[in-house]
Subunit: 237 residues, 2 copies
Amino acid sequence: MNITALERPASLVDSVCQQLAKLIRGADAEKKDRWLPGERSLAEQLGVSRSVVREATKRLEQQGMLEVQHGNGIKVVDRLHRPLSDSLSLLIPDVAGRLRQLNETRLSIEPDAAARAAERATKAQLLELRRIHSSLEEAPDNDNAILCDLAFHHAIADASGNLIYRLVLDSLGELGLASRLRTIGRIGKAPAAAHHEAILFAIENRDPETARQAMRIHILAAGEDMDLPALRTREAK
Amino acid sequence: MNITALERPASLVDSVCQQLAKLIRGADAEKKDRWLPGERSLAEQLGVSRSVVREATKRLEQQGMLEVQHGNGIKVVDRLHRPLSDSLSLLIPDVAGRLRQLNETRLSIEPDAAARAAERATKAQLLELRRIHSSLEEAPDNDNAILCDLAFHHAIADASGNLIYRLVLDSLGELGLASRLRTIGRIGKAPAAAHHEAILFAIENRDPETARQAMRIHILAAGEDMDLPALRTREAK
DNA sequence: TGTAACCTAGTGGTCGGACCTCTTACCTTT
DNA sequence: AAAGGTAAGAGGTCCGACCACTAGGTTACA
C-alpha cells in the first residue's frame, strides 16, 4: 500500500467562506439589494462561533463580494459594481487614457468571448440572449438602451463558458458603462441593435469566426475616435 | 467658517493594518526570513485586543504580505512570492476548469499585449525585456526559470502601454504561476527561451503581427492538453 | 397635522480569557 | 549520533460581555 500525504481538513473559516461564496453567486443578478443574515444568526445556522463568521465575512468583504456595514448589516455587493481592482482610477488618472485602455482590453476579450459563446452556449443561454436583444429594440430611451447593451455583453461573457471573461468585464465596472454610453451616443440605438443582431445570429448559427468579427466591429464602432495612430507615433523614435 | 465633513476615526483594524504594513515595507528585501511578534505580543504592544491583531494579520495575509502559520508564527512573505488574488479559487472550485479558463483568457490578452508592445515599447522597456530574457537563459533551475518567465510576461504587459493588461494578468495571480509551471514543465526551459526569443525579436523589430502570433504559439504550448474539442462537443446538441 | 426630537431594537466592533490543536526545539534514552 | 518523548508557545476556535452605530418607530411640540 502506498503512503500518501493525507488531506488535512480545511479551517472552519475556509469552509464558511466557501459556503457564503456559493450562496452569494447563487442567484446574483436577480435582486438589487440582497442582505445576508446577521453575524449571530449566521453563526447559529452554520454551527460555528461568531468569530469564525466574522472572519469569513471580512475576508469576502476584502474580495469585494460583501459590504459589512456597522450597525446595519451585511450587504451582497452587486456583481456589476464589483471592482477586481479598485485602484484603476488611481492608477490611470486621465479619463481619455482609461477609455483607450478599456476599449483595447474589451477588443482583446469580447471577440474571443463571442466566439466561445458560439461554440458553447446552451439553449437556455441562447434564449436569454435573444430576450435581452429584443428588450434593447424596445427600449424607450437611451438610458434603458445602455443597460440592455450592458446586459447583452455580460450575457455573452456568461455564455462563453469562461467565468474569467465575465470577471474581467465586471472589473472594468463603471468605466465599462462610460464606454458603452459613448457607443450608444455615437452610433445610435438602431445601429447598435443591428450590431447585436449580427453577433447573435452568428452565435445562434454556431459560427465562431463570424461572431468574433461582428463583436470586433461593434466595439471598434465605439472606439473610432480613440486615434490609435497618435499613440503609435508617440515613441516611433 | 466652512462646514466640512469631519474625518471619522479609522477602525482599529485599519490602524493596525497600516502600522503592520509600514513595518513590513520597512526593510523588506533585506532579510530572507522575517517573523513578526506573536499575536498576543503584538496585541500588548499595540494596546489592542488579540481579536483586532488577528483580523489585521489575516487581512494582510490575504493580500499576500504575511503568512500566518498555525503553531509557528507570522512570517513576512518575500515580495517575489506574493500571490495576488485568491478569489478565483473560490469562484471556480475545480482545478482543471481554472486552468482551462485561465489559458483561454491569457490567449485573449497576451497576444494583443505583445502586439501593442511591438508598437509602443520604449527603449528602456526593450532593454528591460532583453535583460529578463537573458536571465531566463542563465537560470540555474526550474524555479528560477519560472520566475523569469513570469517577469517576462509582466514586462510585456507593462510595455504594451495598457495598464489594464497588467492588472488582469496580476489578478490571475497564483493561478498564472501554476499555469506557467506547466509550460516550463511541459516544453522545457530551452524551448521556452526560444519562444521568448521569437517574441522579443518581433517586438524589437516593431512587428506587431509576428509578436502576436509568437505569443499565441507560446501560450498554446502550455495549453496543448486542455482538449478544447472535448468542450466544444459538450453541448453540440 | 406635520415635523422635529427622542427612544429603542438590532446590527457590527471590540474586548479578554478560556481551551484546543499544531509546530518547534530541547531533552532523554538508546 | 539517532530515535523518541516532552513541554513551551504559536495560532485556531469558542464564549459572553459590552461598546458604537444605524434605522425605524414613537413621542412631543408647533
